[in-house]
Symmetry: C2
Subunit: 397 residues, 2 copies
């Protein structure tokens, strides 16, 4: 049972093994709300969209969802008409098994691209999911949605004093991680009652500051989605944009999403470091974001993190190719509080040695001051390691 | 002596060791034309420009150059006023030593960012370069400009029957390679007499199809330049845009640049494969280029090349996040002539095995047919290997 988790009213969870993965690891999960929940979703920007997204996005956009079926092992992407038919059939079986309208079922997949779902097995396994439903099986679901991940990703906040609601987030993702949302699945559930427009707005805001501000390898995938369900079972009053509790709810949503996003970077394939790239003083927030992105995605910068070398030359070169207004003679860079360049010029040897020491920690920040304006942004990134190459060269289709 | 090299009229070469690198490897090179040559240049797009570029670009743009001083080991980038003064001083010493106008000297540097040139040593070493000048020291120059490169990069064409000119290209680059031109230096020399406007046009065209169509790690550097000198000493008539030999000259320039560019990718840090990403049937050449770029720079695709796995899922995911119009159900992908997907769907197991076999070769092509129009482009890229991580994590500032 999840430590300190206060529980979430009106949601149940189930997971199974043996439907898809040859390893026998859990590969099928079900999240069920006792009543239809209001929902919001953010989907991949990749032009190649997997079948489950084609099926689910319109359903989510209608605003209600009661069940989410998630499989790992096969992404059901690039599978043509047959893949689409299979995704629809999975939703249908789930709806029948739960006795709910099929249209309230959302399906989600992650795994190998280009392979069809093993429908014969799924026809047998999906109907067995409902009998395993329990409010306690949160970790089993978090486990069943993993692929190359090395740990489960769960975060929660609440219950709040005011409205008594709880927010629970479950995610997977360890490779192909990049805005906008590469092979990353996240399911955020709350028992709060939330007005639909505000629910959408809150999710988009939280995603921009979390899942869209992380990078492991710069690739984006065909299957990403972040889904938010709010079933209103906490008994508190409806949260609207002008509610007293609106700010708290938005902040907690952001926190849950950022917790999950940071776990995804930490679990980045082969990663040994979690690095925050903080950009200040850009001409605009967009400029800041572009600079942060260039630094966070540079293979040279990421290998220097792995080598624990405060190689600010690679950082400033990445700043220089960002499509943002900069003046190299104004740039300061610090590793945490330790300077490595001031006004575009190297600091002394002792400062560099102090920065090198900071890099030995599993988490640190690179703070970039541009002195062009007030724009600010951050990105979380990982280091690029032997293990990354190993995992991705040896993971065969 | 360079095998089969027919010689180049009116150019001399010299190189020395011990001026900068602690290893004692050659680190200083001089290219000298007996008469002022017409010149053209292409410089990095990085907003952070190294001192030698700030000094040299305006000189090149004036149209004439007689000597090129190149040092490796220190990039003289992010070195402020002092770096600028040092770059100017290097040109001055070179001009004095050769007895030519300082303004005809171009300086070029590659190496560690943020360190000042050891001027005391350079004051002693540069004046000793002219006495070593010889038409035979091409390879010594090619050797002296290397940093993390593992082999020298030289290509030549000619002499042509028509005008009797020769084209010689010398380059360095093995990391931070990406359009537009990351830590990449190339010097192309010809004894043809070429009209200035046509010289510039030819260089830009050749660079776009060569150095700007390669990627090792997606980073661009502060120091890149391609310099083209034409000293008119072959004795042939001047080549202008409407000359009979114009097309041949342009083609040979392209060939020399592409030869060098491919050598740079082959020598990409830790690379074991040279892969041509060929995109056909895009809506425009720009779209084709964008798709080729996304595939060529994907870390996941590049690790799959290393793993010799025809992981077309990663390729199509990269195609999908390109900012180009695509329709995944129209896409065919071949490894050389062997299909891996047709109309966006996986081919059978035997075809995939054939593709895997093709990937065992050190060079192969990924051919992507989009069926959206007639746009076409190519990119050369390398695989991403353990060795890449090793070199870049262990290369310390």
């Amino acid at each position: 049972m999840l430590k300190n988790f206060p529980g979430l009213k009106g949601y149940k969870f189930a997971a199974r093994s043996g439907a898809i993965k040859k390893s026998g690891k859990p590969d099928l999960a079900l999240v069920f709300s006792e009543v239809p929940a209001r929902c919001a979703g953010v989907f991949t920007n990749n032009q190649v969209k997997a079948a489950p997204l084609i099926v689910s996005a319109p359903r989510v956009h209608k605003g209600h969802c009661q069940a989410v079926l998630i499989n790992s092992g096969v992404a059901n992407a690039c599978t043509g008409e047959e893949g689409l038919k299979n995704a629809l059939r999975c939703a249908e079986i789930t709806g029948q098994a739960l006795g709910i309208v099929e249209d309230l079922v959302v399906v989600s997949s992650t795994g190998v691209i280009g392979r069809q779902l093993p429908m014969e097995k799924l026809e047998r396994h999906i109907p067995l999911l409902p009998e395993g439903l329990s409010s306690k099986h949160v970790e089993a679901v978090a486990e069943a949605i993993l692929t190359t991940d090395s740990f489960t990703k769960i975060s929660f906040r609440g219950p709040s004093d005011e409205e008594g609601y709880t927010i629970l987030g479950i995610a997977k993702g360890a490779g192909m991680i990049h805005p906008d949302m590469a092979t990353m699945l996240a399911f955020v559930l709350t028992d709060a009652e939330v007005e639909s427009g505000f629910l959408n707005e809150t999710l988009q805001g939280a995603v921009n500051k979390s899942f869209n501000a992380i990078s492991v390898d710069g690739d984006t995938s065909t299957n990403d989605m972040v889904l938010l369900l709010a079933n209103g079972q906490s008994g508190g009053s409806e949260i609207r944009k002008d509610s007293k509790s609106a700010a708290l709810f938005s902040r907690q949503m952001e926190e849950v999403c950022l917790d999950l996003a940071k776990m995804i970077v930490k679990d980045g394939e082969g990663a040994t470091k979690l690095v925050r790239i903080q950009v200040e003083g850009a001409e605009s927030d967009d400029d800041a974001r572009e600079v942060a992105r260039c630094v966070a995605t540079s293979s040279l910068v990421k290998t220097a993190f792995f080598g624990e070398d405060p190689n600010w030359g690679r950082i400033i070169a990445a700043v220089g190719y960002a499509k943002a207004r900069i003046d190299s003679s104004r740039i300061d860079i610090h590793f945490n509080d330790s300077p490595v360049i001031r006004n575009g010029l190297a600091v002394g040897k002792e400062d560099l040695e102090a920065a090198a020491k900071i890099m030995k920690a599993p988490e640190f920040a690179v703070n970039i001051q541009l002195r062009m304006g007030t724009g600010t942004a951050y990105y979380y990134t990982s280091d690029l390691t032997y293990e990354y190459v190993k995992i991705n060269a040896e993971y065969h289709t």
